[in-house]
Subunit: 448 residues, 2 copies
Amino acid sequence: MADLSLQARLLTALSSTDKQAIRADFNHHHPADIAKAMVSQPDAAIAKLLQLLPLPDQTDLFSYLAKRQQAALVEELPRNDMAALVSAMDADERADLFHSLGDQQRIAILPGLAHAEREDIRRLCSYPERTAGALMTSSYATLSANLTVKQAIRTLRLEAPDKETIYQAYVLTEDRRLLGTISLKQLILSPSDVMISSLMKTEVVAVATDLAQEQVVEKVRQYDLIALPVLDDNNQLVGIISYDDAMDAAEEEATDDAQKSASVASMRSPLSQASISELYRKRIGWLVLLVFGALLSGAGLAFFEDTLEAHIALVFFMPLLVGSGGNAGSQAAALMVRALATGDVVLKDWFRVLAKDLLVASALGISMGITVFALGYVRSGPEIAIVVALAMVCVVLVGSFIGLSLPFILSRFKLDPATASGPLVTTIVDASGVIIYFGFATWILQIN
Amino acid sequence: MADLSLQARLLTALSSTDKQAIRADFNHHHPADIAKAMVSQPDAAIAKLLQLLPLPDQTDLFSYLAKRQQAALVEELPRNDMAALVSAMDADERADLFHSLGDQQRIAILPGLAHAEREDIRRLCSYPERTAGALMTSSYATLSANLTVKQAIRTLRLEAPDKETIYQAYVLTEDRRLLGTISLKQLILSPSDVMISSLMKTEVVAVATDLAQEQVVEKVRQYDLIALPVLDDNNQLVGIISYDDAMDAAEEEATDDAQKSASVASMRSPLSQASISELYRKRIGWLVLLVFGALLSGAGLAFFEDTLEAHIALVFFMPLLVGSGGNAGSQAAALMVRALATGDVVLKDWFRVLAKDLLVASALGISMGITVFALGYVRSGPEIAIVVALAMVCVVLVGSFIGLSLPFILSRFKLDPATASGPLVTTIVDASGVIIYFGFATWILQIN
């Protein structure tokens, strides 16, 4: 929700190039709020605003802009200004920006950067998206084990301005192997002549560069970490992931899973920012694919055309049966997808979890069967009531079974279990529902 | 995923009451891992383990146990031990524990606590679940504005052991109004004789006790906060919510939304811990409710029985049409629910968002219409192809419209938009799909 009065003030100040007024707003508002107020303004306006600010405010504001806006500004701002801004950015945000730029835009910025910065960007950009490597920053605070507390605090004071956090420092060997961690709290609480080597925590939770973002989030959350160290194949520290970046990643993952759970492909922008063409592309693929799944149900119905013609009353209960199977399947899939995403359930638990959940599904099926038996009896007499009730028990069981199994199967083949979405499960269950329902009908009503 | 060798070692050590071995495991493992290793062990075993530990380790381990286990242990541990443990717990976790206890169990613990602790628990327990008040802790670090940096650091050193965090301190007036905040990083970087009043940040992001947990998470995430201060109606500081508690809340909310999005009611336990009866209760309600929704589709089909009997070939395309509408609706609902949950879209944006998304839906409908026209033509000739194609365009549009609108409508009536789940949307869209499809068929095929 953009603050409209802030927005109006900023635009007025911009149109009259009133540095004073802009300063005042920056003193009274968080840069996140300023970025939000400018979210729907033209890139040129944001470029002008940035140029009226001193570098630290520029960097703050720039880092809260949407990725789309950041990329557009690379073209709007003069090269020198852009290079200075990129130099001042956090290492991880800078790498993210580069990741989203075209070759042309990269070439426009790189010459203005120092060699070490170019190398840092190249290295951070080399990790696949949504892994620990892509999420981490290279600006962490390090200490050596043979410092005293007093020396360590002095080191952190000197390094603080350039580091993502100084609340957690990493004690390294000369070849950058991680010996332990020490928090600023421990340092503050300890006598000043104690050695770091005797204070540091040596059992450290660390992850590899290729760990999936979703699991990074779980580590940070589970161990209540301020920052999670990332090690390369040689066990050397290459970066840290701070809690705030983990929180952003958590939101990204939850959004991604929520969208996948409804058969929407991963989106690059939030809904309010996404273009019509992006929204179309992210939705059409699955919609068309599922058409072919639905043809199976159609074929099932066509196969049982005789039964349907003989007892057209059966059609009344069809949506109810097929729908209930799909609903039970969606429920089961959602529970399982979320349990796999949070690490509550792992692949090797599948048998135990499946067994428990099939008991639940049986109870659900029987309850639903009784409900629809009553409905069927009232509307169409005992024979159809029996068909409907038996079919319901089966459909709910089969629906739940498919909903429970699909996420495991996807996970087994290294696919994202979230793809076992409601629509996919519903489409598969629909076809089984048609066959089960008309199968029972053909059998019990003795249609040949 | 429990560490099985750790589990085995702990159980062996427990059976021989080997304090030494248990100590060793506590030195080499995070308490979160120990808690995980013990997750499926009987309460008595965990009680025994706790009693073999010194109080600080007891408290650490206890705080990582599942709520269900914590509550059970209240009965297993001797009253004195339990009171000591509860005294040592973090204020917010202690209040959460009390929240989940019965009156009997509360009475067993309260007499062992100091008056101030009892008052603190009573106060923290008084806020409704899933609000800022319920999430916050009362143990935050405070400073007064007239201290120097040196005095402030000394104060924080003294207070540190009892506080949730000392990385962010709150500068209060005598009547506990919040003047500003100061971070330990600022303190460390500033000369020791500077006054806090001249250093502190006076524009503070703070929230009221009744703010919903979901919005608390968004604040912490958006402003990259280590802790979020909570104010009461008199603008007095009553607590803080730390980033790690916000992360736990974020996961709880994402799980809750994921489950609601599949018509599963809010669960108290993760899937792996939930009982069969809880799983049944959380799923049956919506399943039965949706049965009555599906009866609408059934009634629609019954109404068009003549059309169906005249052109039984229509039945082949029914699952495809009805299904596609439901899928498009589920996609739209999921996008909107998530955008509302993350604050990307707010209630007053509805017209703009709806307009954009209906353009997307039109494009989707036309694409889908063309796809099924081809299928219809091949299978059943031009007349049915036209019926199917026109119905598809309409169904996708109507499905998307329902999927987009439902979350807004729920939100407008202060209900959780996540309830606009796939199954609910699918059930509503199904009925419209039946009417649209057979409506077009009756009209174009001229059935009276």
